[in-house]
């Protein structure tokens, strides 16, 4: 299944949470591939299963209540779901690294920046302490932190949000991982810092030939940075295609709705378009196509109410899960 260029291949991943109210199906039958050096953007509203997918790849789903119910996650052609915790520890941080959403709380408040990066480095690489310190300093320089010499001995609370996110990135890339999972890396930051951080990620990705799984709900970011896009809705991928294709020729009504609700430059609009309704709760998904209660196209179609469409190939690289997609 996996060819040489593919770093990560997820097949039919399902992650469930057993709660007292029943089983919450947070992720169902999700499949995608990421090729070396490419960026896949995982887009969707809050609670659609993006972060759970990312945590599943890292095997960080808290268990119980969470469990990976089925599927396979091939990382460099090896199924990491079969790895022992020990093997997994060797992969985490070393081969697959993750950047978290909240830079303000992702650094340990009782240790200096330097010591935290050094810890990440010396964990996976045989380096003397001085070398690791030197490397950490270089890493801070690479993420454009001014005066890294001084910043090394400072505590996280002395740094701004953007700075801390840079430190997180420096930590994540310090072991030159082949896959970087960025879970909404810019959500907590303001727009100018966002751009800087994303440029930085781009730059690092090019120089390290790293693959990136970019999780976001910001379509603007997707348009600029991603090679491929997977749109998630209510625990499933509803559309998957190359980035340009998504914006030019969206097939799924949900994607259309998302693109429609973006404000357009140069046109006068009184109100922004929205998709009516809310994301369904994972415990209480609607029957048939999960989008049908909000769907402007299929809301009256009997088939949409009863049968759930599978992700089907519509054109060469374009997949969509909608009964109307082919028509």
């Amino acid at each position: 299944m996996t060819d040489n260029g593919t770093i990560l291949s997820i097949q039919n991943l399902s992650t469930f949470f057993d709660t007292e109210q029943g089983t919450a199906k947070a992720v169902q039958n999700v499949s995608f591939d990421i090729k070396k050096g490419q960026t896949l953007a995982l887009v969707g509203e809050s609670g659609c299963g993006k972060s759970v997918t990312a945590l599943s790849i890292m095997r960080l789903i808290p268990s119980p209540p969470g469990r990976i119910a089925s599927g396979k996650i091939f990382f460099k052609s090896r199924d990491i779901l079969e790895f022992s915790e020990r093997q997994m520890r060797r992969i985490r941080g070393n081969k697959i690294a993750m950047i978290f959403q909240e830079p303000m709380t992702s650094l340990n408040p009782v240790y200096t920046i330097g010591s935290q990066i050094v810890e990440a480095i010396s964990l996976h690489q045989k380096k003397s302490y001085q070398q690791a310190w030197q490397m950490a300093q270089e890493m801070l320089e690479r993420v454009h932190i001014p005066d890294p010499d001084r910043r090394m001995v400072e505590y996280p609370h002395l740094l701004s949000g953007g700075m801390r996110q840079r430190v997180m990135i420096a930590m994540a890339i310090s072991c030159r991982p082949s896959l970087l999972i960025a879970d909404e890396p810019t959500t907590a930051l303001d727009v100018t810092i966002q751009a800087q951080i994303l440029d930085l990620l781009d730059e690092l990705q090019k120089s390290e030939n790293m693959s990136v799984l970019l999780i976001t709900h910001d379509l603007g970011i997707v348009a600029q940075r991603a090679d491929n896009v997977a749109v998630m809705y209510a625990s499933k991928i509803v559309e998957q295609c190359p980035c340009g294709e998504l914006f030019n020729n969206p097939l799924h009504p949900y994607t259309k709705g998302l693109l429609n609700s973006l404000p357009q430059l140069g046109t006068r609009q009184n109100r922004l378009n929205t998709i009516a309704g809310n994301v369904p709760e994972p415990l209480d998904f609607p029957s048939g196509c999960k989008f049908h209660p909000r769907c402007p196209v299929g809301c009256n179609d009997k088939k949409c109410h009863t049968e759930e469409p599978a992700l089907k190939q519509v054109s060469a690289n374009h997949y969509a899960a909608c009964w109307y997609a082919e028509k």
Binding site: M58, L60, F100
Partner: protein
């Protein structure tokens, strides 16, 4: 950490979290007073046999004695000290060196390496201590020096002698001076067998402090490990652990201790261990609560996603963040343990009589003749009061020093 290098240069490594707390703590005058009081207590405890002893430091024999000892100088006190006393001195010196190296570390070793370097220093010190104690136990002869040097001095057998500050032994009985209120010779009076109260008080410091520290050390370690595991893993482990804690808590501790102490021989060690293993529940609950909170913090998730081993996540990343309530409860625990030991000794379940302890001394004030000899209860009571107060105030101060910093930092 594959390779450990002690890096010593004058580079500025920044202030560590511990230093920040220390600065905050020593800013407050009350805390300083308490700290100094505890330091004085410790010194007293360690050097008790040098402060209060009926053997003189130096004695010169008079010419009236037999010709072979004539004019000779002896050091009876150092000969009379037991191997245990020397072990305590050694431990104190090693401990002091460790404290100083801690200061040095904080200036010269980078914060990340500090725990590792400290750990190495602790191991080295422990080895030195163990070897030293074994050697001392082997080579220091166990001998009994029953000579009454003051009688010798009075009888003209010795010309000069230099006595310690309180020239009485704690086990000395002297019916002639029993039950005297404080006077010039016995500053705090004597008890009903004629022992000097001040001397017994000084020697009692050892017992009370060691009970406090060892008991709290045991309960702290057990509590932290239990609490950390319960809080981190949650679920079934947490459930079972908490039920165990609840069972332990529902048992009235003091009566349990009395029962156990009644079964086992009266030894200080037993008391310390029993107090330790019955009072870990509070620490465990504090740590569990903190860890439950920290478990979902992003930096713990980030630490896991970096691939750190469990030990490092629990004790390096989570523990310093959740340590505040436990540190406070530990200082209260020291006071509590001293209290329990006093109460046990008061009831007659404590250390065996010739060994002095504060609680035991309290009880002698009323029991014998029906008469209340106030100085027998007042001074040990005062000592207990001040020690417990000092620890409690220090606990308060520590809580204040840790809390706002942590909240600001997160």
């Amino acid at each position: 950490m594959k390779k450990l290098e002690l890096k010593i240069d004058n580079k500025n490594w920044g202030t560590s979290y511990g230093q920040l707390v220390w600065q905050q703590l020593t800013k407050n005058r009350t805390n300083l007073v308490c700290l100094w009081f505890i330091i004085v207590l410790f010194t007293t405890a360690v050097f008790a046999p040098l402060i209060a002893n009926d053997k003189p430091f130096v004695v010169r024999m008079a010419s009236t004695g037999s010709p072979q000892v004539e004019g000779k100088v002896y050091f009876p006190l150092f000969g009379a000290l037991t191997a245990n006393d020397y072990s305590v001195f050694l431990a104190a010196i090693v401990g002091a060196i460790l404290l100083f190296s801690l200061r040095r570390n904080s200036r010269k070793v980078d914060p990340f390496l500090r725990p590792a370097v400290l750990w190495r220093q602790i191991s080295i010190c422990t080895v030195i201590l163990f070897l030293g104690i074994i050697l001392l136990q082997i080579f220091i002869p166990r001998k009994l020096d029953a000579t009454d040097y003051r009688a010798m001095l009075a009888g003209g057998k010795a010309t000069d002698a230099v006595f310690p500050l309180v020239p009485y032994g704690y086990g000395r009985t002297d019916i002639k001076v029993c039950q005297r209120p404080p006077n010039r010779n016995h500053w705090l009076g004597t008890d009903d067998v004629g022992s000097d109260v001040l001397c017994r008080l000084i020697h009692g410091t050892r017992i009370s402090l060691s009970v406090g520290f060892v008991a709290v050390g045991i309960s702290g370690i057990v509590g932290i490990i239990f609490g950390a595991i319960m809080g981190y893993f949650g679920g079934k482990i947490d459930f079972l652990g908490m039920r165990l804690v609840e069972i332990m808590m529902s048992v009235p501790t003091f009566f349990l201790i009395i029962t156990i102490v009644a079964f086992f021989p009266r030894s200080l060690f037993n008391i310390m261990v029993i107090i330790g293993i019955t009072s870990w529940t509070d620490d465990a609950r504090f740590i569990r609560a903190e860890f439950l909170k920290l478990r979902n913090q992003d930096f713990v998730q980030a630490a896991v996603s970096l691939g750190l081993p469990l030990r490092s996540i629990l004790f390096r990343h989570m523990l310093p963040n959740g340590m505040a309530p436990v540190l406070v409860s530990v200082t209260f625990g020291v006071a509590g343990a001293i209290f329990i030991e006093s109460a046990l000794s008061f009831l007659g379940f404590g250390v065996a009589p010739p060994t002095p302890s504060w609680g035991q001394m309290l009880s002698t004030g009323v029991s014998t003749t029906g008469e209340f000899l106030w100085w027998l209860s007042f001074f040990p009571g005062l000592a207990i009061f001040f020690t417990v107060t000092a620890y409690n105030l220090l606990g308060e101060g520590l809580r204040d020093a840790i809390d706002p910093k942590l909240r600001k930092a997160v």
